[in-house]
């Protein structure tokens, strides 16, 4: 324990040794310096006149967007339905792809740890590291604007998410159950169906519903790059500076997100 002895001989407890103090101080110094440097960089690229004007701008924006244009809501139901479909169909597609990938990636179910597992892990990593909006940007160029690009973008991003959590769940199963099923003389497929699947089923259902909830949030902005859904209306309203419509859309998104979050929490609570 670090202790400092004073001249009078009284010993006082210290939190760190002197070297520890120095290291902590150096760490803080580097951290603060880095932050200041980074902020300096951003500050150089900022027109501060606009920033000082921000409170006035915010007040102006609020004034223009209140009251929301309630009558605009009927033009939005169709877009909202499309948004829900993009999220749901994208999730379904992702589940269908991610389940086999997860079984190939988990070390206890993969057919070949040397050849297949790295490929499956690469698929998961590649899918996870690209944001769904970027996937959408690329897919819109390939398939043209519309819901197909949105569904595929959601699916491509979700494969990594579901695949990663599912393969971790598979690796954490209780091996004794698998051993018991194997001991009855079951084949590989039977071990999978009776020893492994029942154990990961609750985790799998929870992960899927959780991702669906996230996907609804993501699907609301895909339209900004032309991939369908309510984001297209949002983009159009912003481009024409129709702020009452923007606030109407934001209210609708808020309601949908709250409902989907509540639903997903209920389902996950019921399963686990």
């Amino acid at each position: 324990m670090p202790v400092v002895t004073h001249e009078q001989g009284t010993r006082v407890w210290m939190r760190r040794t002197r070297a520890g103090d120095l290291v902590a101080w150096l760490g803080w110094l580097i951290g603060v310096a880095l932050t200041v440097l980074c902020f300096q960089f951003i500050s150089d690229r900022t027109i501060w006149g606009f920033v000082w004007d921000a409170p006035a701008q915010a007040a102006d924006l609020l004034e223009r967007s209140v009251p929301p244009r309630w009558s605009y809501a009927h033009e939005l139901w169709r877009a909202m339905w499309d948004t829900l479909n993009i999220a749901t169909l994208g999730t379904v597609l992702a589940i269908a792809t991610a389940v086999p990938v997860a079984f190939l990636a988990a070390y206890n179910t993969t057919p070949s740890a040397l050849l297949v597992r790295p490929v499956a892990l690469f698929v998961i990593v590649a899918s996870r590291s690209v944001n769904s909006l970027i996937w959408a940007l690329i897919l819109v160029i390939i398939f043209g604007p519309g819901m197909l690009a949105g569904i595929l973008a959601i699916a491509l991003r979700s494969i990594g998410f579901i695949g990663k959590l599912l393969y971790e769940a598979i690796e954490e199963i209780d091996p004794t159950q698998v051993e018991a099923v194997t001991a009855t003389g079951a084949g590989r497929a039977q071990v999978l169906a009776w020893g492994i699947v029942p154990q990961v089923m609750p985790a799998f259902a929870g992960i899927s519903v959780f991702r669906w909830d996230i996907n609804i949030r993501e699907a609301t902005v895909l339209g900004l790059v032309g991939a369908g859904g309510i984001g297209m209306q949002l983009q159009a309203s912003i481009n024409t500076l129709a702020w009452p419509q923007v606030s109407m859309i934001l209210i609708l998104i808020l309601g949908t997100v709250v409902v989907s979050e509540w639903l997903s929490a209920r389902v996950r609570h019921a399963i686990i």
Binding site: C38, I42, T88, V130, N131, V221
Partner: protein
């Protein structure tokens, strides 16, 4: 019935126990799928034409073109990285008071409700939507992106940290309080040591998320590498786009490994 027939007839219990609910869920899912696929508008002809363009895009990865627009890539990358660092630092600092207020065992009810409302607002909207509003307020550039990410960080960190504070070992806090400690001393010696490892872990994780998000904020004018990527794709410069994507993936992987390492080290 003999034992063999009984064993063969046995089926595992289904995930949803009540039969009517199970069938209602299956039926509802089927009905939804029919309805959703029925209203799906897909221009298959356009999609088929796009395959060729997709092939060109994939071909652009071999080899990607780092050189011809390196200046733009470098600028976007620096913007993204600086945005990530500053937004994480500011967001984490600001999230601490919000988290303290949102922990029911520390804050009185009015403060608790206010802080929970802040968290809910910050978490509901996608970062990109918040960025649109901040760009309208603060003008184009990385500052709007930084403020967006800091705002999103507050909701994320405060929620998880508040839950952690609510789950602390009470006896330690009580022991500190019994020595006559003030509220701030209680925080420093009774609570901070218990939540610090998770706090550091969450901050590292959020750093990782902030970089990923900073890569898309450029699409709405909030600066960063997303802007470079968008420009490259708009001009059909697939080689540059491929280079940007590879750089993003590499940095995301590096961040993920670093944040995983930090989280394992402190826990």
């Amino acid at each position: 019935m003999d034992a063999r027939a009984a064993a063969l007839a046995w089926r595992p219990p289904p995930l949803i126990e009540a039969a009517w609910l199970r069938w209602a869920v299956y039926g509802g899912a089927l009905l939804y799928l029919v309805l959703a696929l029925g209203t799906l508008e897909v221009n298959w002809q356009r999609a088929a034409e796009g395959i060729e363009r997709g092939g060109r895009f994939l071909a652009a990865f071999f080899p990607p073109d780092f050189a011809s627009h390196w200046r733009e890539i470098e600028e976007g990358l620096l913007e993204s990285l600086t945005m990530t660092v500053t937004s994480t630092v500011f967001g984490v600092i600001l999230s601490v008071p919000v988290a303290l207020g949102a922990a029911r065992n520390l804050a009185p009810l009015p403060v608790y409700l206010f802080c929970r409302a802040v968290i809910a607002i910050s978490r509901t909207f996608q970062e990109v939507i918040i960025a649109i509003l901040f760009v309208a307020m603060f003008g184009f550039g990385p500052l709007a992106g930084m403020i967006t990410l800091a705002f999103a960080t507050i909701g994320f960190m405060a929620k998880l940290l508040a839950e952690d504070i609510e789950d602390i070992e009470r006896s330690q806090a009580e022991a500190v309080r019994a020595t006559g400690a003030s509220w701030f001393q209680l925080l420093a010696w009774g609570i901070q040591p218990q939540v610090l490892p998770r706090f550091i872990g969450l901050s590292a994780y959020r750093f990782d998320i902030n970089f990923r998000e900073s890569a898309v904020l450029g699409l709405v004018g909030a600066g960063g590498i997303g802007d470079t990527l968008n420009n490259a794709l708009d001009r059909y410069e697939f080689g540059t786009a491929a280079a940007v994507l590879l750089i993003i993936i590499a940095i995301v992987l590096a961040c993920e490994y670093a944040s995983g390492f930090i989280r394992r080290a402190v826990q």
